[in-house]
């Protein structure tokens, strides 16, 4: 059988609140840059996690998806689902909880657990009309 790498993607969903706001800026500056995003609101996020690798001949799998579910559940969903992103440590320190920064924060917690070689792509949907892809 062809021996190339196989890419496996699993979807996860979580719901979070956020607002875009820089404390060191005035209200007008914040409104000019972020518009209505300065007001606290929320999204139903969808996270697609793609892992890649050679198929284990014993299991026929790239990765045990139950393990992937456990890792993402513990590291991502437990932390961000029904949470206020602005109160999360990574964003409270000054990063704006944009989709870009959130996907990067998720990459940073998943890459060490899944292995940088195995984790190929994260695709984070903020809503059905907007998503960001990050490859590390």
């Amino acid at each position: 059988m062809s021996a190339g790498m196989v890419y496996a993607t699993r979807k996860f969903t979580f719901s979070s609140a956020h607002r875009y706001w820089r404390d060191e800026w005035t209200l007008d500056e914040n409104r000019r840059v972020f518009g209505h995003l300065t007001v606290v609101h929320g999204h139903n996020y969808t996270l697609e996690v793609t892992v890649r690798g050679h198929v284990d001949p014993q299991t026929g799998m790239v990765m045990d998806l139950a393990e992937l579910k456990r890792v993402v559940g513990d590291a991502v969903l437990a932390r961000f689902d029904h949470a206020d992103l602005n109160r999360d440590a990574v964003f409270a320190a000054g990063q704006i909880p944009t989709t870009e920064n959130l996907v990067r924060a998720i990459w940073d917690v998943l890459a060490p657990k899944l292995g940088a070689e195995r984790l190929w792509r994260l695709r984070l949907w903020e809503d059905p009309t907007f998503h960001v892809e990050y490859f590390g």
Binding site: Y20, R22, V33, F34, G35, Q95, I96, P97, T98, T99, E100, N101, V103, R104, P128, T129, F130, H131, V132, E133, Y134, F135, G136
Partner: protein, 141 residues
């Protein structure tokens, strides 16, 4: 830190038919099948841009600018028009998903931030989608 690729999805509805003006109805029917009859679709267009992160805003592209550009040069040209007859910019273009993806690329590329456009996808129906990555080194990834 690598680059981020941002994709926005837009919708428009338009009429079209696949036909060559110099062909007879019979020839068009033979070449394009049922698509030669006047019909229409609820199209989705996915526009992917790439950028590096601005640490102050946490953003790697100005989605407001992308939205405004797509609205002006794409949606206003095609939404509720007939792609086969009432869009001057598509005169002479057979409005297949492939050709629409290429045309939309040509319309968007000059008005988006320089070098930022990575992909245009035209989703004609739930079953048919057409992606274009540009004439340069665009790669499907």
């Amino acid at each position: 830190m690598g680059a981020f690729r941002l994709t926005r999805t837009y919708h428009f509805s338009a009429g079209h038919r696949l036909a060559r003006a110099e062909f007879s109805e019979l020839e068009n029917a033979r070449m394009f099948g049922q698509c030669h009859r006047q019909h229409g679709h609820n199209y989705a267009v996915e526009v992917t841009v790439e950028g590096t992160l601005d640490p102050a805003t946490g953003m790697s592209a100005d989605l407001g600018e992308v939205d405004a550009a797509v609205q002006k040069v794409l949606l206003e040209r095609v939404d509720h028009y007939d792609l086969s007859s009432t869009v001057p910019e598509l005169d002479g273009v057979i409005s297949t998903g492939e050709n629409l993806a290429r045309a939309f690329w040509d319309w968007l590329e000059p008005v988006l931030a320089a070098g930022s456009l990575r992909r245009v996808a035209v989703v004609e129906t739930e079953n048919n989608a057409f992606e274009y990555f540009g004439a340069g080194d665009g790669v499907a990834r």
